[in-house]
Amino acid sequence: MNEINRLQEINAVLKTVDDPELPSVSVYDLGMVHDVALNENEVEIKMVPTFAGCPALDFIEIKVKRAVEELEWVQLCRVKFTMEHQWSTDAITEKGKEELKKHGIAPPPENYQPGDEWTLNCPYCNSDYTSMENVFGPTACRSILYCSACKNPFEAMKPVVQPLHLK
């Protein structure tokens, strides 16, 4: 198998590894996979955390390692979270956004600037008649909102972007 096929195989596996706090949304579609490098039968995967203080990072690391090592030709998979690159909202794939909505979680707003107030359309009925209930939610990366149209509470992924003066 050539290298391109091998990389495709690994990406296919990564699309099956779900975030432990977001069942049905893969770490690949959340944009957490930064780089995959091959060296013979060894694989090195660099990942970026959505939130640096997230306590699920260790679980994710183990889940990714185990899943990739299931591949017959892989002898060893190293997974490393790196801070050299910063995750941002734009890293979520279109599929990831759709999967989040199915889970009752709206994808983060686009073109957000730190400090802006924000709300999002309801992931269930797509109404914009929504309000922010608590910017802090059940995990560091999520907020709690309410839809006054379909009367459902829902969640959203918090937008995080690099402050302009540090870019």
Partner: protein
């Protein structure tokens, strides 16, 4: 060695740089560890349920930030992150003393008469300072730390905005609220100065460009920030009533915090969790 230092290996080559970096990392790690521990003691006790969700989320994230700094210390070969958090003597700890202060009277398991005014003032003062220090670190010379600081700053503005809202609203609320906030501000003014300092290695930390501004400028920026929010700034200069945590001075409150935090760890130090 004032250029960019890319790796732990590189940092270890210069003894003064290594020592200054180590001090700075312990300050960042221990500050976040202690304020997050005091925050965790509020779990279930905050004024209302949304606040409980918010404060515990901030606290969990802050504890995660502490972990990253301990990990950087681990990469430098100083010890495992678990050991550094749980198993260092008081005099080796570098957090500002005000951050170890008990939440109020009583304790978590038995009649916790905690004071919300202290929580609001302490968290606002600390988060305002954390932003200033991390911005200086984000432009500093140790790349692995600067990268972490950049990431933390992306999340941190949610923390700061939260506490700023509380202190602003209580500051324009009932007379009792104003009085309680003002009392805690006055108390903090006598104790907060060491949080703003870089300790006895301040000169090396600055001259090796581990931070892009010195402690005097950090302090000025912090005062400018809190001036925009506080109704009244206490008279006189900031004090450090109990000494300097940056140099290893601490109170009994730190012992109590660490003993509670490390109770499980101490029960079996070699267990794999």
């Amino acid at each position: 060695m004032s250029q960019v230092v890319e790796t732990a290996e590189h940092a270890k080559k210069d003894a003064t740089y290594f020592l200054a970096l180590k001090e700075l990392l312990f300050q960042l790690a221990d500050d976040d560890l202690l304020i997050a521990f005091r925050g965790s003691e509020w779990l279930g006790l905050a004024p209302h349920v949304e606040e409980d969700v918010a404060y515990s989320s901030i606290t969990q994230n802050t504890m995660g930030h502490a972990v990253m700094y301990y990990n950087l210390l681990e990469e430098l070969g100083i010890g495992t992150a678990d050991l550094l958090a749980h198993d260092r003597k008081s005099e080796e700890r570098r957090n500002g003393i005000y951050l170890e202060k008990r939440n109020g009277e009583g304790n978590y398991l038995d009649e916790p008469y905690y004071d919300w005014a202290l929580a609001v003032v302490r968290n606002y003062f600390y988060e305002a300072f954390k932003k200033i220090k991390l911005e200086a670190v984000a432009n500093g010379s140790y790349k692995p730390l600067a990268n972490v600081a950049r990431k933390v700053l992306m999340e941190h503005h949610y923390h700061l905005a939260h506490w700023k809202l509380w202190i602003k609203q209580l500051g324009s609320s009932s007379d009792e609220a104003k009085k309680r906030i003002q009392g805690r501000v006055k108390e903090a003014w006598e104790e907060f100065a060491d949080v703003l300092e870089l300790g006895k290695h301040a000169n090396d930390i600055r001259s090796h460009n581990l931070v892009s501004i010195g402690e005097e400028e950090m302090k000025d920026r912090w005062i400018d920030e809190v001036r925009t929010v506080l109704v009244e700034i206490p008279d006189g200069s900031l004090g450090k009533k109990y000494g300097s945590g940056r140099n290893g001075d601490h109170t009994q409150d730190l012992e109590q915090a660490v003993n509670t935090l490390a109770e499980v760890y101490n029960s079996d130090k070699t267990a794999a969790w």
